[in-house]
């Protein structure tokens, strides 16, 4: 269990965050300069916050009220730096053994051997960091951080410097890591799909604040506000007001689209009638239909960008009132035939894929 509640004034913004994780993997996502790395440094004790409270399991690491500020050496926090920060003058073995010098020689040997095995770098023990590829350095950094069996593992953009194929392999290995590391893992990333794959919980940062910190499914299905929706890649945000509520269905009047949208509300807390809300839908969830139906609007392709496995379309909606409204859709190539630019069709916004954002 890691509890964090810290404030720190920084040039440009104030960091003011609070969250707790309990034996889970937390992905910290957000734009650069939003305080993600600073939070990690504060937890590790490398930079002191201005005030607050940090507790790891039963140990208080920092408490401004009672003047507790444990040095990083006593915090049992493992840290994997963005550029790995390996000791360039030590071999891989000595790097990994650096934090377990208190053990007997035999135990150190054994433990380093185990970690080299787990990280799949058995044959690299006698190399120096500069003789390793980025992916190998990453593994050494992880092995070195895990050797002293930390209570929490912090990783600052662990995969940002890697090639795609190496990155994917390391992501899978990180998921396997949970089999032998039962602690909290926090990692910073600016890649939502990476964060979603690896974590159980996502914290969305912006300008030194946490906008939402919930299970990853919840963050994606129900963004707390427009900023979270934008940061988590919700491309279509439609302004409207709640017109009618019936059971789990919420009708939102959308003047821009010249109609109403039915939203299948997921959570119990329903909005009030008349409330101004934003309806969000990810580009991947927008469907193309050939005839008008519920939540369906006529539109014309104004731009199509072909990706490897899907095509991203920008649709300009047609009709009397909805004209000029743009919707983005990402359609899988294997499921939908390509639509050429200028072609007309109907866009369907599935009610169970829409989310209501109360701002």
């Amino acid at each position: 269990m890691l509890e964090v509640r810290i404030r720190k004034n920084l040039p440009g913004f104030n960091l003011d965050v609070a969250f707790a994780v309990n034996q889970e993997i937390l992905a910290v996502i957000g734009p650069s300069g939003s305080g993600k790395t600073m939070t990690m440094l504060c937890i590790a004790g490398l930079i002191p916050p201005d005030e607050g409270y940090i507790k790891l399991n039963s140990k208080v690491l920092y408490d401004s009220d009672s003047d507790i500020n444990l040095p990083p050496q006593q915090r049992r926090v493992g840290f994997v730096f963005q550029n790995y920060a390996l000791f360039p003058h030590l071999t891989v073995r000595d790097n990994i053994a650096f934090g377990i010098r208190h053990l007997s020689r035999q135990d150190v040997e054994e433990k380093v051997g185990q970690l080299l095995d787990k990280m799949h770098i058995q044959e690299l023990g006698h190399r120096y960091p500069r003789q390793l590829s980025a992916g190998q350095q990453q593994r050494v950094a992880l092995g070195r951080a895990l050797a002293p069996e930390p209570d929490v593992l912090l990783m600052d953009e662990p995969f940002s410097a890697l090639d795609t194929h190496v990155k994917e392999r390391l992501e899978r290995e990180l998921l396997n890591l949970q089999q032998f590391y039962q602690g909290n893992i926090l990692f910073v990333t600016h890649d939502l799909s990476e964060g979603y794959k690896l974590s159980s919980k996502i914290a969305v940062y912006e300008s030194g604040r946490i906008l939402q910190c919930e299970s990853k499914q919840q963050v994606i299905a129900a963004p707390a506000n427009r900023t979270v929706a934008r940061l988590t890649g919700v491309r279509n945000l439609i302004a409207g007001s709640v017109a009618e509520i019936e059971g789990s269905s919420v009708w939102v009047a959308v003047p821009g689209l010249g109609g109403r949208l039915r939203v299948a509300a997921r959570d119990a807390a329903q909005p009030a009638i008349g409330q101004q809300v934003t309806v969000g839908i990810r580009a991947e969830y927008v469907q193309v239909a050939d005839h008008p139906d519920e939540n369906t609007f006529p539109g014309k392709v104004s731009q199509a960008v072909e990706g490897v496995s899907s095509i991203n379309y920008c649709f300009r909606l047609q009709g009397d009132t909805a004209a000029g409204y743009d919707l983005e859709a990402s359609l899988s190539k294997s499921e939908a035939p390509p639509i050429s630019s200028g072609q007309s069709c109907y866009l369907r916004l599935p009610p169970d894929r829409l989310c209501i954002i109360r701002d």
């Binding site: 490398l46 926090v77 730096f81 920060a85 360039p88 650096f98």
Partner: protein, 233 residues
């Protein structure tokens, strides 16, 4: 005959090695301390550390003479223990060390700054004490730069003339170092003595240049670790 030029060589070697050993540790300690110190006197202290490099050596010598003379604060203190350094061999060491100190200090500052803060931070999160981090991480990584600084300050103290003459004078067999011996040999028109001393200085200078080149290469090369082709993950 050999005695006349071997004596200054011997005195110079003793002086230079002692002075370099002192500046080496003092320079590292000062650089290390300044890296942490963020107080309001930072620029002032930094300036004082570098001052002997900027001032004419005769002025430094005069300052040391005022400090260590029988009326100076340090001179009086030493007199309590029945000691006096002015015009003695230790004076050559003091003069050489003070004049060479800024070079060691500045190079060490630069070398420590080059050590990436996250590497030291990684050591901290791994539980290493600050003492262990300094000896097993910071110093080894800064070593090429620190060694270059030691060679520079050694060269500077070998060439030291003005401050040494002011504080230590020229007492043959006791305080006459090579540069001072050369000056008086030239003044006395003793060509043989001059040439022998100059040749000795040249030999030492080339040795130092070679050592400096070696450590400079180490500094840019981060150790003599062979680079092997990288494996594909």
């Amino acid at each position: 005959m050999a005695e006349t030029y071997l004596s200054p060589l011997w005195i110079s070697l003793k002086t230079v090695l002692t002075a370099t050993a002192i500046t080496f540790f003092l320079g590292i300690a000062a650089a290390r301390w300044m890296a942490r110190y963020q107080g309001k006197f930072r620029n002032l202290i930094d300036g004082i550390f570098i001052l002997p490099l900027v001032l004419p050596p005769t002025v430094v010598g005069l300052g040391l003479l005022l400090l260590f003379g029988i009326h100076g604060p340090l001179g009086k203190l030493l007199l309590l223990f029945g000691a006096s350094v002015v015009f003695s061999w230790p004076a050559t060491v003091i003069a050489a060390a003070v004049v060479a100190f800024p070079l060691m200090y500045m190079t060490a500052c630069g070398a420590f700054e080059q050590v990436e803060i996250n590497i030291e931070n990684a050591a901290r999160t791994l539980g290493a004490s600050e003492w262990r981090i300094f000896w097993s991480v910071t110093l080894p990584l800064a070593l090429p730069g620190v060694a270059a600084g030691a060679i520079l300050s050694l060269a500077r103290s070998l060439g030291e003339f003005g401050a040494t003459l002011m504080l230590a004078g020229s007492i043959p067999g006791r305080t006459t170092t090579i540069p001072i011996a050369i000056y008086f040999a030239v003044e006395a028109g003793d060509n043989h003595q001059t040439i022998m001393l100059v040749l000795i200085v040249l030999a030492v200078a080339f040795g130092l240049l070679a050592a400096l080149a070696y450590w400079k290469r180490r500094a840019t090369n981060t150790g003599n670790i062979p680079l092997v082709p990288q494996d594909i993950d």
